[in-house]
């Protein structure tokens, strides 16, 4: 993991007296498809805006492909694709105009990629952006970022405003793009479910702090829910990393980041899905749903 596409070190951003992001230290491995997960207000958007240079850090540093977004703008921007949360497109522009914009503003633009995608999605070229559905607008925004042929693609809550079908189609597009071209992708979201299919790496961010950063396979393999008789959880805690515990009168439930196998036969071991693990980190009581 020494080869990081994005590296943040003590990164913080202050708006007025509020810190939107503080002391964020994390790495996004090159070539990964990373889900950046956290509740609303965790600083996901701020982190991505800092990475793309739309805003400048109040403290700390962020590097993308070894470059500083604000300083090495001219060198970095051609290699960086970004789709903002609200997809700010010119509503008065036709789809064709929007593609022209992409062609004129990006030396690395591949018009064939753009045209094929739009054609494939059945979006009429002469339709004004303002007249497209939310899903189509998101797809046009993604097309704009993909035809630039970026090495790093940042998608800020790309599916939050989409209906389930459009959400599925959008993520399919992302997967397709990843299979066709070697690149690092970061998708931020406050919902994990959609991303599990697409991503191979996970970063959980809460209150501007990194709670977990690992490959999804590893996360799934190492996190377990243990249920057993009340008491005795301190023995578990000695070996394993307890993320969350809850107790009823007779039973104790623990979400652990297991350090190897759990041998103690008093504990019943359950597998967890990604959402449950993330929620455990974020502090919700997801356990009742399982037990």
């Amino acid at each position: 993991m020494s080869d990081a596409a994005i590296r943040a070190d003590g990164l913080g951003k202050q708006y007025g007296s509020n810190w939107a992001l503080r002391d964020a230290t994390l790495e996004v491995p090159a070539g990964s498809v990373t889900a950046l997960v956290g509740p609303n207000g965790a600083g996901k958007t701020t982190l991505l805006k800092l990475a793309v240079g739309l805003t400048r850090p109040s403290e700390g540093t962020v590097n993308v492909l070894g470059l500083e977004p604000r300083k090495d703008e001219a060198e970095l921007m051609p290699r960086l694709g970004f789709v903002a949360q609200e997809h700010p497109l010119h509503s008065g522009f036709s789809v064709k105009d929007t593609l022209t914009l992409g062609r004129r503003l990006n030396p690395s633009w591949n018009d064939e990629i753009a045209r094929k995608r739009i054609e494939h999605l059945d979006i009429p070229l002469d339709r004004k952006l303002g007249k497209l559905s939310g899903g189509q607008q998101a797809q046009v925004a993604l097309t704009l970022a993909l035809a630039k042929q970026p090495d790093v693609l940042l998608l800020d809550e790309p599916v939050a405003s989409l209906d389930p079908l459009a959400r599925r189609e959008f993520l399919n597009s992302v997967m397709e793009a990843v299979s066709e071209r070697e690149m690092t992708v970061v998708l931020s979201s406050h919902i994990v479910t959609d991303l599990e299919r697409v991503c191979d790496h996970l970063i959980v961010l809460s209150h501007a702090r990194t709670l977990l950063a690992a490959s999804i396979d590893h996360v799934l393999a190492s996190h377990r829910l243990l249920t057993g008789p009340r008491g005795g959880d301190d023995v578990v805690a000695r070996v394993h990393n307890v993320i969350r515990e809850s107790h009823t009168e007779r039973q104790t439930s623990l979400v652990v980041n297991a350090n190897g196998h759990v041998y103690d036969s008093r504990w019943e071991v359950h597998e967890l899905d990604l959402e449950e693990i993330v929620l455990a980190y974020l502090g919700y009581r997801a356990l009742e749903a399982v037990t």
Partner: protein, 311 residues
């Protein structure tokens, strides 16, 4: 980027062009009509004619000409608002873009933000320059007959007869850009800037211009014949009866007072005037252009700087 800049200010450029076309539609026919009347009535022969002098025929000809076309003249006085209107309209796309946040789309393509800002602001300033130049040509051509008769130094005429229009247009543009960059609301920014433009213009007309203008003063004896030649077509700031040292008597402006109510009966012995001679027209134009253009450039630079450094 230039393509994008044009594409985005297309509507506003068309509005500015339509404004100019409307102005041309008013000025061109009436200008032709005036130019015809001017040569048909032989007004050029009366140019040296002094109103206080004796040539009655010329007096009549000039009188009827001015009466006939004064309706246009008072209409054209309103055109002093045009540079402001054109300036703020051409500034609108910039503020609109910041309001909608679509600048972030351009900023996440491959060009630098600095290039985006300079291209956008440069295009706006460039089109303002072109529009202002067209307006100058139209207004100067149109007013020729009046200028030959009455000069072009008076407040109401000076501001529509030369390069100052470029300064005014750029000033309105810069003001709207600066307010729009900070406020990031297009419509209010444009409206406030237009009001600001109007206030600045009035302030210049009634207070500022006479402060930086190269004024001269003269004291003369009306009884000795016509007014001094230097006063011809000059911008007279104050004029009135005075003592022989040029100290004005009574309430300044009453130029000739005769009758029982007068502080001094009969034509005064001495007259005194503070004025800017017609020969200083261009130096005054360029001074005022420089003043407005400098403020405009500072405002435009501020708009760009603010946009680049705000976040």
């Amino acid at each position: 980027m230039i393509w994008l800049g044009w594409r985005q200010q297309r509507t506003e450029t068309l509005i500015a062009a339509a404004l100019l076309a409307l102005v041309a539609a008013i000025l061109v026919p009436s200008g032709i009509e005036m130019a015809h009347a001017y040569s048909r009535d032989g007004l050029s022969h009366c140019l040296g004619f002094n109103k206080a002098g004796g040539n009655l025929a010329c007096g009549n000809v000039i009188g009827s000409f001015e009466q006939r076309f004064s309706k246009y003249s008072s209409l054209v006085d309103w055109f002093t608002l045009l540079p402001g209107l054109i300036g703020v309209v051409l500034a609108a796309p910039y503020a609109l873009e910041l309001e909608r946040g679509t600048n972030r789309l351009a900023w996440t393509q491959s060009i630098t933000r600095r290039r985006w800002v300079t291209t956008k602001l440069g295009l706006a300033a460039g089109s303002a320059l072109v529009a202002a130049t067209a307006l100058i040509l139209l207004l100067v051509w149109w007013r020729q007959p009046f200028v030959r008769l009455d000069g072009r130094m008076d407040n109401g005429v000076f501001d529509s007869q030369g390069v100052v229009i470029i300064g005014y247009t750029l000033f309105a543009l810069g003001l709207a850009l600066a307010i729009g960059a900070v406020w990031r609301r297009a419509i209010p920014a444009v409206m406030v800037a237009f009001v600001g433009y109007f206030v600045a213009r009035i302030f210049t007309d009634i207070w500022l211009r006479q402060r930086f203008a190269p004024t001269e003063s003269l004291t003369w004896r009306p009884a000795n014949g016509p007014d001094p030649a230097r006063l011809r077509h000059a911008w007279v700031i104050t004029e009135g009866p005075s003592d022989k040292f040029g100290h004005l008597l009574g309430a300044g402006k009453a130029s000739v007072c005769a009758g029982p109510g007068c502080p001094f009966p009969g034509p005064p012995n001495w007259m005194h005037a503070v004025f800017v001679p017609a020969s200083d027209f261009w130096s005054l134009q360029f001074t005022e252009l420089g003043l407005f253009a400098a403020i405009a450039l500072a405002l435009i630079a501020f708009a760009g700087w603010w946009t680049l450094h705000r976040e």
